[in-house]
């Protein structure tokens, strides 16, 4: 019973994928969308059942499906582990996934390849479930690479545009850089502990087996973090995520905001017992996280593409989550992952609704005043914006506050930097809101004519997500701490922060900071009615930010170009050189033959002379030398 339910949970999206691939055309555009949605809903229902069960029994479900790879010293099974953490993740992966599928039915209705879109989305959910529910590192790695593949396919969904294909390729390759780190981490863990199974690993570490070589464990943790930073878009591997906005907006919402990019946080949380042994690496994680949060927020300040702003905001929020991980507050990071999934999915879907209404326009300079035309989109996005800015009592307030509180107790510098990042967040998010929904409409007359609120299939998911973004903080309110208790079996005794004066003071500071950010945005874009300048007019720091610190250009010049140059040099010179060495043997043989040919001059007298001379030499040797 349990096994078949697990199979339903795992395989429903896969079946959806297969049927959409092979029969999608027959189902029609709506049909394939409904099928895809139902597949994910089935998974969601199975997840809810397991979630209830585990929540009451407090016991993880571990199911062995079949043996997969046998290694010399250990074997790797195809196992599924449903514990508190994976079920929590599955809840919002399948839940938000189902909502986004529903949304896509309407959003992608006019595309010629709707069935392909849904098959890829289903495949993504399937791999995401594998990633989350896998019971060992290698099953997780299947999902890990699988979601990377789906991300590649979906970013490049409109494959006729080679720029989109470039973005897709870039995402895949940057992820693979991280994946190499992940693999090396797996190797070290396998070498040290002779197992890749999470439960066995935890037992081994708690029992102190294989933990003698702390340096090697630290290396493993660092390598795993490199993997996480690839998938979760941290410095220095984050540049693919903003480019990934080339994909359809539901994809950005599902993959590049709510689920896939949180895989790195999931992995580190999953292996928290390992990271606890490597305090130096945790420090690196915290520092990388906070700097990512800052840098991405700074870039987000000046972006004009509505999806790019959200993309940088995602990178920035992920940075904050890594800050929490680095400080050892795993449940806080998980809390923020969940609330972030709610409000960021809502924001992306909202932006999709706006883009849909404007027939593909993404530049905020050509928007404005949309709140009258699109009230539902406006209100839901406003709630989510308040949530991400950390305004009481929306979900983001609680989770972000927890992170900052942890940072304050851990390291004041980190707290200051994190707070600056969240002030910037409040500013650029309200900048987005003001530019999009307030003021006068700046687009073409034709667009203005067609402005309309999106249909129910789009607004219903928005409303659901907005409600969650508003009240989602309830799962871990200070004092109640349901999430902390729920996750308690996974972490060894991490105390929840008490609601003391410091906590209230920090909440106050955070709220004031957010309000300052909003205020600046208000004064700039509402009072002074500023509109961002054209790209070629920006100067100074603004220009640096608008060009994303020139990081893409630097990577291009420092890494990609030299590799290309090396490739060309190898192709044109080294290959030729090596080939010539081989031909050199032939040439030498040829030369020797030419010399030998001269002996064969056809002069019989010479031949006879050589013959006699040779004979005499032999005789001389045989009789006189020996």
């Amino acid at each position: 019973m349990e096994t078949s339910l697990v199979l339903l949970l795992l395989l429903a999206p896969f079946v959806g994928f297969l049927s959409n691939v092979f029969l999608g055309k027959q189902f029609g555009r709506t049909g394939s969308g409904v099928l895809g949605t139902l597949a994910v809903v089935a998974s969601f229902i199975a997840t809810v059942i397991f979630f209830m069960q585990v929540n009451s029994t407090k016991e993880a479900i571990n199911i062995h499906l079949f043996d997969w790879i046998a290694m010399g010293k250990f074997s790797i099974g195809f196992d599924i582990l449903l514990d508190q953490l994976s079920l929590l993740w599955l809840m919002f992966v399948t839940g938000i996934g189902a909502l986004i599928h529903l949304y896509s039915i309407s959003y992608m209705h006019d595309d010629e390849n709707t069935h392909k879109f849904f098959s890829y989305l289903n495949l993504f959910v399937f791999f995401m479930i594998m990633l989350v529910a896998g019971s060992n590192l290698l099953i997780m790695f299947i999902g890990w690479e699988g979601v990377g593949l789906c991300s590649y396919l979906l970013i490049g969904f409109w494959y006729k545009n080679q720029d989109y294909n470039d973005a897709a390729k870039k995402a895949f390759i940057m992820n693979r850089i991280g994946d190499l780190g992940f693999l090396i981490g797996i190797f070290i863990i396998g070498y040290l502990f002779n197992t890749l199974d999470f439960v066995a690993l935890k037992q081994a570490i708690l029992a102190g087996n294989g933990t003698a070589n702390l340096a090697l464990i630290g290396t493993a943790a660092l390598c795993l973090f490199i993997g996480a930073s690839g998938k979760s878009a941290q410095i220095p591997l984050y540049t693919w995520l903003p480019d990934a906005m080339a994909g359809p907006t539901p994809v950005s919402a599902l993959i590049h905001a709510a689920t896939m990019v949180t895989a790195g946080i999931f992995m580190i949380t999953r292996l928290n017992f390992l990271f606890e042994l490597a305090p130096d690496v945790k420090m690196i994680i915290a520092v990388v996280g906070v700097f990512t949060a800052l840098v991405a927020a700074a870039i987000g300040l000046v972006q004009n593409d509505i999806k790019k702003v959200l993309a940088y905001s995602t990178v920035s929020q992920l940075g904050l989550m890594f800050l929490a991980l680095g400080l050892g507050a795993y449940e806080v990071a998980v809390f923020h992952v969940i609330t972030h999934a709610f409000f960021k999915a809502c924001l992306f879907l909202g932006s999709g609704s706006v883009i849909h209404a404007l027939h593909g326009e993404q530049d905020m300079r050509n928007m404005g005043g949309l709140r009258k035309a699109m009230p539902v989109t406006f209100i839901t996005m406003l709630i989510s914006t308040l949530a991400i800015s950390g305004i009481f009592p929306f979900a983001g307030f609680w989770s972000k506050d927890e992170i900052l509180l942890t940072a304050f107790h851990g390291n004041t510098v980190l707290w200051v930097l994190g707070s600056i990042a969240s002030i910037m967040t409040a500013f650029y998010m309200f900048r987005l809101m003001f530019l999009t929904f307030f003021g006068e409409f700046r687009g073409t007359e034709e667009q203005k004519h067609h402005l309309h609120e999106s249909p129910a299939l789009i607004t219903v998911p928005l409303i659901v997500l907005a409600v969650l973004a508003a009240i989602g903080g309830a799962i871990n309110l200070p004092g109640n701490n349901w999430l902390n208790h729920y996750l308690a079996p996974l972490f060894k005794g991490h105390e929840a922060h008490h609601l003391d004066n410091t906590a209230y003071m920090l909440m106050g500071i955070a709220t004031v900071g957010a309000l300052i950010g909003i205020g600046i945005a208000y004064s700039m874009y509402i009072s002074k009615k500023q509109v961002p300048e054209a790209d070629d007019k920006v100067q100074g720091l603004h220009k640096v930010l608008a060009n994303k610190f020139y990081l893409d250009e630097i990577y291009m010049a420092v890494i990609v170009k030299p590799i290309y140059a090396l490739a060309k040099f190898s192709r044109d010179y080294i290959e030729k050189g090596l080939s010539n060495i081989v031909f050199g043997f032939g040439t030498v043989a040829d030369g020797l033959a030419l010399q030998g040919k001269k002996m064969q001059n056809g002069n019989i007298g010479f031949y006879l002379f050589a013959f006699v001379f040779g004979l005499c030499s032999i005789v001389y040797y045989l009789f006189f030398v020996r």
Partner: protein, 477 residues
């Protein structure tokens, strides 16, 4: 029933194809290759039930040569690779019209015959004969039915022939030396010889030269790209899918057990060379304009990793190498076939002249994509199982090896996706691209099905090869 049946069947097949006439030659060849696959599966069945399917008989009294064919798990796995790929390779020729088709397909079957002999032979002399015999058909296939300028082709093919032949002569010398010591060419006796360190060193080097050229390892690879490009696609498939594996298989079967101490001494140098091939092959592949050449360099990178696994000389390395040999055999045949399918329609192999194919044939694009992904070892494909095992074995030897070898997952994705993007994606091409035919579809589906099934369930293959690898390791240790 023993393994000679397989050899006889393929030999008769080659003869029958030759006499069948040009019109039906391809079908006769397909029939015999499928029959060979059936026989080899039946043999596998017998073997797994514990029946001895080896064969041994005195062939020549002086020198003392046995016609000995030994079938253990490793040989059977390689034989199955050959017999499974041969029908696909023959089938992939259905869309081409070869002049003198009877000669062509007879040579293909003859080559399968010789390669199976190489995989089975357990007498050094017989092994050497089959090893050299397999060179002859591919020489003619590439020379006569190849493409491009005839003079350039002749130059490349003759270079290939002489190069590999010269390398093999050193191996022959080593065998003769061993015969002087042992009085027989039998594998079991030869690996039991007690050789001094110097003897092992020279024997190792002699074998190494033969295998390094065949595999090929850098810097002995210069024949490869040109021959792959100039040979007809079927020839390229035979070369890359099976013949390279002869070299790798021979490393496991002959070189390591014969000279284990020398292998251990030179291990780091050779693994270094193999891994240099991984990085170098990937980088050179990045800037190739010709699709077949790009695949040739990708093959160089992949076999480099397999070779590194072989020379890691531990359980995981050897096992991973064998798994990866099989996986790479399938995927590279599929990829070259995709190149051929494009060539049949566009008459070009230059990547920049393609593009926009996906719009016209989504089916072909999907299948090509899956093959590309298998080639970059996406988890879930068989290639991942092999690559992971090999990389893990390297990491247990030295972490640096695993990191250098691991760059293949980055660079591999880089050049393969770049190729795919420019060949398949983008704006619709003005030229028509007809959908894949039934025979083309069968080849793709068979290969993809194999790669995906064993990617998720590699256990049968692992269990088949493990005992024989353990036996080899006993001689190596």
């Amino acid at each position: 029933m023993d393994v000679t049946l397989l050899l006889i069947l393929l030999f008769i097949g080659a003869v029958a194809t030759y006499f069948s006439g040009n019109a039906i030659a391809s079908k006769v060849a397909l029939f015999f290759s499928v029959a060979a696959l059936g026989v080899s599966l039946a043999l596998l069945n017998q073997f797994s039930q514990g029946t001895d399917i080896s064969f041994s008989a005195q062939w020549i009294k002086n020198p003392n040569v046995l016609f000995a064919l030994k079938a253990d798990g490793l040989s059977i796995a390689m034989v199955l690779l050959t017999t499974a790929l041969t029908p696909l390779i023959v089938l992939s020729g259905f869309g081409n019209n070869f002049n003198n088709a009877k000669n062509f397909y007879a040579l293909v079957l003859f080559m399968a015959f010789a390669m199976i002999g190489t995989f089975l032979a357990s007498d050094g002399f017989v092994y050497y004969i089959f090893w050299e015999l397999s060179l002859i058909p591919i020489y003619f296939i590439a020379l006569i039915w190849g493409n491009g300028d005839a003079e350039a082709r002749k130059k490349a093919v003759i270079k290939f022939f002489i190069y590999t032949f010269a390398g093999s002569l050193f191996m022959l010398a080593a065998f003769i030396y061993l015969y002087q010591k042992a009085g027989t060419f039998k594998w079991d006796v030869l690996v039991g010889l007690d050789l001094s360190a110097t003897e092992q060193f020279w024997i190792f080097l002699a074998f190494f030269l033969a295998y390094a050229i065949k595999i090929p390892l850098i810097p002995f690879h210069t024949w490869q790209a040109n021959v792959y490009q100039k040979a007809p696609t079927i020839g390229t498939m035979l070369l890359s899918g099976i013949m390279l594996k002869m070299g790798l298989y021979s490393v496991l079967r002959w070189q390591l057990p014969l000279a284990p101490n020398a292998a251990k001494e030179l291990q780091y140098i050779i693994i270094g060379l193999a891994l240099a091939g991984v990085v170098y092959g990937s980088i050179v592949a990045l800037k190739q304009k010709d699709l077949k050449k790009l695949l040739a360099y990708s093959s160089l990178a992949h076999v480099g990793l397999i070779a590194a696994g072989c020379y890691a000389m531990n359980m995981d390395g050897l096992r991973g190498a064998v798994l990866q040999m099989i996986a790479h055999g399938f995927v590279i045949v599929g990829l070259f076939f995709a190149a051929e399918v494009i060539y049949r329609r566009y008459e070009t192999r230059t990547i920049s002249e393609m593009g926009g194919i996906r719009q016209q044939t989504p089916k072909f694009a999907s299948m090509f994509m899956i093959l590309v992904l298998a080639s970059v070892a996406l988890p879930g494909t068989f290639n991942f199982v092999g690559e992971f095992t090999v990389l893990y074995s390297l990491s247990t030897e030295n972490m640096v090896f695993a990191v250098i070898g691991g760059t293949t997952i980055i660079l591999g994705a880089f050049y393969m996706l770049r190729m795919f993007q420019h060949a398949m994606l983008g704006e619709t091409n003005a030229k028509m691209f007809a959908d894949v035919t039934v025979s083309e579809g069968i080849v793709f589906v068979a290969i993809i099905g194999f790669l995906l099934f064993f990617g998720l369930y590699p256990k049968p293959i692992i269990e088949l090869i493990t005992p024989s690898i353990q036996e080899i390791l006993v001689h190596v240790k």
